[in-house]
Amino acid sequence: MSLRLDRVTVHLGGRDVVRDVSLDVGDREVLAVLGPSGSGKTTVLRVIAGLQAPTSGRVEIDGRDVTAVPTHARGVGMMFQDHALFPHRDVGGNVAFGMRMARASRSATRSRVAEVLDLVGLSGFESRAVDGLSGGERQRVALARALAPRPSLLLLDEPLGSLDRALRDRLLDELAGLLRSAGVTAVHVTHDQAEAFATGERIAVVLDGRLAQVGPPPELWRRPVDLDVARVVGPVGAVPVEVRDGRVVAPWGPLPARTLASPPTADGPATLLVRPDAVELCLDGAEALGIGGTVARRSFRGDHVQLHVAVPTPEGAVDLPVVEHDRLDRDVGERVTLRLRDRSVIVVDPATS
Amino acid sequence: SCGGDDSADEGPADGAAPDGPSGEVVVVAHDSFDLDDDMRAAFEEETGLTVTVQQGGDAVSVVNQAILTAGDPLGDVLFGLDDATLSRALDADLFVPHEAERLDEVDPALVLDDEHRVTPIDHGAVCVNYDAEWFASEGLEPPADLAALADPAYADMLVVQNPASSSPGLAFLTASVAEFGEDGWLDYWQGLEDNGVDVAADWSDAYYTRFSGGAGEGDRPLVVSYGSSPPAEVLGLDPLPEEAPTGVVESTCVRQIEFAGVLAGAENPEGAALLIDFLLSDRFQESIPLTYFVHPVIEGTELPEVFERFAVDPDDPYQLEPEVVADNRDRWIDEWTDAVLR
């Protein structure tokens, strides 16, 4: 099942919550939608599901204009961000609902319910009241409910948001496998890059109602169109630089061309995006092209330590996120030297904000 | 009656200032009775007393309430007993005697209690009314008397009230007993039943939703109503028509008298007596026809023109002794119900 949004705009509460979004999702593609809170992700899903009529624009499924088709006739499955479980039905009744609507047989329903509950780690929960479920359990029931009728277009709104990492990883794996094997087209809204990276063949970044960039994960990571997109995709430091005659001049000096992921397009002021994987901590403070800075913050992340290194610039210090793998135990306040890796930093137009 | 007298005598002695100019008389009445502002003002001017009217449902309910609260009544005067409830009220010793000032001006035929525990205030006649226009257009004569109502010529035309719940209904039942006697009345009703008589719950139901004449929305041209109904049908028309749209079958009429009495145990028996006198005053009596659509009891009271012209005041209506009605009423109603409704 393929999906197309054509210049969809949604006006709500006095403003355009979704603005002129056009989007193609191919048959059996899994598209991840990533965007900050309030950017319009849920609204886009609601438009696709037919729960929200677009103010303008069209929705097509398999090439057919469905803008005026009511939700239940669109054949989409949706998992709601706030779950929206039926309080008057037990877990089994919630999960079976879609099957019943599709007039599946009793025994087929029962076995499918058991199957999806098992998938989400809630085997045997059939007769539990939804009232007594924990937050994560509710989320899983909501997911199971959306999966049970095997919709061919699946809309997932933060399906794993309140699950622990281990469960989330397992479900992500299973979900990815499931989607692929069942040949489902899916739109997966998430605020978590790792999740988007894991399921999305392509990721659509939504910013303030607009579709800012769509592409496969590495492209978004390495070639974000602007600072805002870069930020949504992962930690990034932003350094004001000047491009002169195609050469990038940073506050600490000109950059060697080989460190750039791609050559700058135009002269003038620009912003240099520095991902944590673009810099290395030098073991001793005296490298030729080293960037001097001070550890501003440091946080233990288990398998690594995340440092924020303040690098002075004429307009004040900028924070560069740095991953410290090697247990160097740099402490806050310590001076460090950073080195840019080859083909790692990105030059974009100056941040407007 | 001695007890009644005692309390009537003691009342004023104990009371704070019962005959002071600012006392209050409470009239317990059915919900059709009221005194308009002019009437109240007149009474207050005459006596210095104010009136409160406590309504208690239909006439029978009011009497029954009075019986329930005998000795500790809801007010001072009871207005609205009719012949059918009279003996029950008298048996319950509800009243103390009061001989009204103008009683001598009342037609003696209307004064049913010689102890004057109750005083007649108005009277009317329950009679079969007919839709004159309907009969004219059908080219049919209205029925001549009670017996004619069972004639197939008048099949499916009559609507009566259920005597169990309606006072004209009960009055009409007594008319049939008076006419056909204890032995014949049930057969008569059987005949009416065979002739398609319709039974309404009460007067309004019969007159406005089943009767075709006048303002009625129904489809039956004959209804049990009052001898004074026709004037109401022309009231306000200018000029008055020659004929009222409804007519009265005079030979079917049965008399109904409405009484008032001073309640035993009243807080203000003097005031009560004054009020009863007031009800016989010209002022009130003259207002009776167009307010209640019945006749005043004071002989020679001036009647409005419509009333004079269109109301029927039968010379010789059916009339049963109140005691007879009281003794047999429940049995009649039961037998009637069995014959007509089942």
Partner: protein, 526 residues
């Protein structure tokens, strides 16, 4: 603590008067005379009456739900011009004297149906759709629209969403409404008397006759006890079910989920629901209104309205506007009492100890299960000693009206209250709100709209009550329905026309009052 006001109220204005009148019947001279009871229960004809009373009530209730639930759904889901007016106008039948309703029906349907069971059923539905629309609508308005969204994404169309999600969630309210409708129709009096014809008798008709006409208190008491026992028994069963059905659910705020209908399906559903309501309630009422403008010459005119205010032309004896004022005063007082008592009761029913709650829930409905005349007569013989010497007091009437209105308030509020998600209350508690404060800050505003609905209901019930009012009214403070009755107690086109005019005034006054009340919302500050 909170159960005190409802209990005291019920004790003084219900238990004591009714107990007194029953005792008068059963112990006429200080010793038990249970002969009547035995006799009544052994009467074969009575069994027929009980049976008819029961099954026509069940049938009426089912029919009323069948009409009322879709109308409630349409009115709470779809917006259209005049939605609020329709909602308010549906309650008009409640305030009209039955004989006026009978006129309306004859005018609409002709006399053909008169005396048939169909007439009774149609009239019962006519009267009581508003009960269903109000009680069920009160909850539907609060349903979280996301439940319906979720069902739609699972393949349920509107119908099946309604059937599988909305109805089950509204079930406590449906059961609640059914209870009231059942009571009304079980104790139906005027309709059965006027439209059903004399061969259709309910227990209530018999009680009424025995009490007011025959003053056979022993038989009346026996019948009343029988009626009470049946009613209480059935209610106890029904209430248990209702509580078992209540589920806490996310409740929407006041940004109600009404919207314009979309698509042919929705539009035709709305049209059908409105047509049904219109045919059933609108047409008869409209024809009455038309009657009020009909001049004797067949044209249209205002003369009956003029006659109403002309002391020469009217038999009312005082300006008709006085009756309007008295009606409003009584109704306002009764509404305030009913809402206060009903709110307290609803809280106890939903939050109090379970057993208590159930018992109170049943007891609160009983006033509807007792004949108004029983209550009226009871007032007369019991409220005559200080400190409760209320006979003749102005307050007696609003109290009697409130007695009938309280059950509605409770019925509207309980389903909504019991569906409020506890977590919202907990959030308030964590932020430092004591239980009383939680009630004021969370429950009250969340049921705010429902309180408005309940108040409107109470208001209409009070305006229309005359079973008891007629017993204790005073001519000086006559209410509009009683005035209409008085006009219809006299012959002639003038009286009839004035009655229709006054009925029309009552309709307008009811609708306008309800529209105003629906805008009042206790604790409704955002």
């Amino acid at each position: 603590m909170l159960s005190l006001p409802p209990l005291v109220f019920l004790a003084v204005f219900f238990a004591v008067p009714v107990g007194a009148i029953l005792l008068t019947g059963l112990r006429p001279d200080g010793s038990w005379a249970l002969g009547a009871l035995v006799e009544v229960l052994g009467d074969g004809a009575l069994r027929g009456v009980v049976w008819f009373t029961l099954w026509q009530a069940v049938l009426s209730t089912v029919l009323t739900l069948a009409v009322g639930v879709p109308v409630a759904y349409a009115l709470t889901r779809f917006d259209f011009p005049g939605r609020r007016v329709v909602h308010a106008a549906l309650l008009v039948p409640f305030v009209l004297p039955t004989v006026v309703v009978a006129v309306a029906f004859i005018v609409t349907l002709g006399s053909g149906l008169r005396g048939t069971l169909v007439a009774i059923l149609v009239a019962h539905v006519f009267f009581n759709v508003a009960v269903v629309v109000r009680v069920v609508g009160g909850l539907l308005e609060k349903l979280d629209p996301r439940m319906e969204d979720a069902a739609a994404t699972l393949g349920a169309g509107r119908w099946r969403t309604a059937l599988h999600v909305v109805l089950p969630l509204a079930r406590p309210a449906i059961v609640s409404a059914a209870g009231v409708v059942f009571l009304f129709t079980f104790t139906s009096f005027g309709v059965v008397l006027l439209l059903g014809g004399p061969e259709h008798a309910t227990l209530e008709v018999e009680i009424h006759r025995q009490t007011t006409q025959l003053l056979d208190l022993p038989v009346a008491a026996a019948l009343s006890l029988l009626q009470l026992a049946i009613v209480a028994g059935l209610l106890a069963v029904g209430t248990g079910r209702q509580q078992a059905l209540a589920v806490a659910q996310p409740i929407a705020g006041d940004a109600a989920s009404v919207r314009r209908p979309r698509g042919v399906g929705e539009r035709s559903f709305l049209a059908a629901a409105l047509a049904l309501a219109g045919a059933l309630v609108g047409v008869p009422l409209a024809l009455l209104v038309l009657r009020s403008f009909r001049a004797p010459d067949g044209g249209l005119g205002l003369q009956w309205y003029r006659a109403l205010v002309d002391p020469e032309a009217s038999v009312l004896g005082r300006p008709a506007l006085d009756a309007v004022r008295h009606s409003l005063e009584f109704a306002v007082a009764a509404t305030v009492v009913a809402v206060v008592v009903g709110l307290a009761a609803a809280v106890v029913v939903t939050r109090g100890p379970r057993r208590w709650a159930r018992a109170l829930d049943v007891v609160l409905l009983l006033p509807l299960g007792v004949s108004a005349v029983t209550v009226g007569f009871g007032f007369l013989i019991s409220l005559d000693d200080p400190p409760l010497d209320l006979r003749g007091s102005w307050w007696l009437i609003p109290m009697a009206q409130a007695l009938v209105a309280v059950p509605f308030v409770v019925r509207v509020l309980v389903p909504v209250l019991s569906s409020i998600d506890d977590r919202v209350r907990e959030a308030a508690a964590v932020l430092g709100a004591s239980p009383a404060r939680v009630w004021r800050e969370v429950d009250l505003p969340l049921v705010g709209r429902a309180v408005g609905v309940a108040a409107g209901f109470a208001f209409a019930v009070s305006l229309g009550e005359f079973g008891a009012t007629v017993f204790i009214a005073r001519a000086e403070t006559v209410t509009v329905p009683v005035a209409i009755l008085r006009l219809l107690g006299r012959p002639g086109p003038s009286n009839f026309g004035q009655a229709m005019a006054l009925s029309t005034i009552l309709m307008v006054m009811t609708t306008v009052s309800l529209l105003v009340i629906s805008r009042l919302r206790p604790g409704g500050t955002r």
